[in-house]
Symmetry: C2
Subunit: 272 residues, 2 copies
């Protein structure tokens, strides 16, 4: 399980939503502002107290390792598990994680300090077995993996059954882009092109557009423009300024530009 950003109190939220701590093996930190980062040291310490044994990988801006290690040293603590830091400093998008099922790339953002978004791309999975066809040709179980990987099957009779008849195409791989804190910046569009789900910050409404340049944040309208330019399928908004009493206007504003808008909120879950 991936955790993206870790503000103060993240532990409390994880407990509240019954997320098993041991499932978190990779933590991605977009930038070193407190609301995205101050909960990390506490989480790392709690993993220790829970006698974690799995490796933990932390991806974040250069400097993150020194900050965490300094605090661990000050508390005379060491982690019983392996703690790996992957410090980021590239200003270009780069691959920072890859396994059999997913690849993770950075999305360089334009904020007051060095900041990355993260793009999670599922890899194309295996084909699905056509259970009826397999039964019809009386194909043995030992061939199932081969079929799922796209191979044809030669029957005892010598007849070759093409894979297409024995399997269905794999699920379309999903992709998710997380853009934490950023000024409106079209340069990210090619990186997140055709993404299934785009989380994009929208600190302000258009009526406060004048604050975006100084604070390096953007408006709901601007987030929607990015979603539209990138041909995203869905847009999730979040990181609203506390100046607003309600978050509904963010949805209304973004919908003037882009259709599928959802609002992130404490503990809200989305399925795609």
């Amino acid at each position: 399980m991936f955790l993206i950003d870790c503000g103060e109190g993240t532990q409390v939220q994880l407990r509240k939503h019954k997320i098993k701590f041991s499932r978190i093996n990779h933590i991605f930190i977009s930038h070193l502002h407190g609301d995205h980062f101050y909960g990390l040291i506490g989480l790392i310490s709690t993993f220790m107290l829970l006698n974690r044994e799995n490796d933990l990988h932390v991806y974040g801006p250069k400097g993150i390792k020194e900050i965490i290690l300094l605090q661990l040293r000050a508390s005379g603590s060491f982690t019983g598990y392996n703690l790996y830091f992957h410090e980021l400093e590239s200003k270009e998008s780069e691959v920072i994680f890859e396994d059999e099922t997913v690849i993770v790339k950075t999305i360089p953002l334009n904020h007051r300090v060095y900041t990355n978004g993260f793009l999670f791309q599922e890899k194309l999975g295996k084909r699905h077995l056509n259970v009826e066809a397999v039964a019809k040709y009386k194909i043995e179980k030992v061939y199932f993996d081969k079929i799922k990987s796209g191979g044809n099957v030669t029957l005892d009779s010598g007849e070759v059954i093409p894979n297409k008849l024995l399997s269905f195409p794999p699920d379309a791989p999903m992709s998710y882009a997380f853009c934490s804190d950023t000024l409106y910046d079209e340069s990210i569009v090619p990186i997140i092109k055709d993404v299934d789900v785009l989380y994009h910050e929208s600190t302000f409404l258009d009526s406060e557009q004048q604050y975006t340049e100084k604070t390096k944040h953007c408006t709901a309208k601007e987030a929607a423009k990015i979603a539209k330019l990138a041909n995203a399928k869905n847009l999730i908004l979040g990181h609203y300024s506390t100046r607003y009493g309600s978050i509904e206007p963010f949805k209304t504003e973004a919908e003037t530009i882009f259709e599928n808008v959802l609002l992130a909120d404490d503990g809200r879950e989305f399925e795609f």
Copy 2:
């Protein structure tokens, strides 16, 4: 207002109990374990966001300044207010703060890392005006400060009215000792002698006494022994291990040794 120790989520608790952030000017950190310290950087950042102007003084173990400044630098932040660190490294009790009304001393504790408790001693205040006597002798307002400070008053007639007739003794000054995390250690007794209120950790019950040496914590019974030896007037217990379902047994156990036992708990307030 003094804040002692600052674990993760302290801000949330302060808000919940409607403590005005701007009233906190002195923060005392006993040691650099997370549950006593990880909320400090967030609080300092929040003070920034609230446009604090008052000086803030932080007292804590050597190393605390580097940890906080490193994080402020990483987030490209600077405080609009003056932030002063008073780093502690003495193994003897020392005076670390003093103004007209209060004096604060460290209480060296015996824990896994360098740790101090803190002793807050009110200074003897001014005497109280005997309003009836003052009226009887028709004494002018300009003399009131002199009377409160213990001076006699000479009437126009030349008669000297002794202070005792014009005022009552000042309130007895209160003292409060906070002993955060420590192994049972009688060497603190002379420092906290006759204290009005002693907060002393009691992580374990006597039945788990075998864990105290390794973890450098103590039991409710041991906390009560310290209170008794120090001739404290009241004992507040806290820092209970989460292994116990209820905190009431801590009170019961301590009361076998010492009479006036109170149990600290989230948000609980005490008046003396």
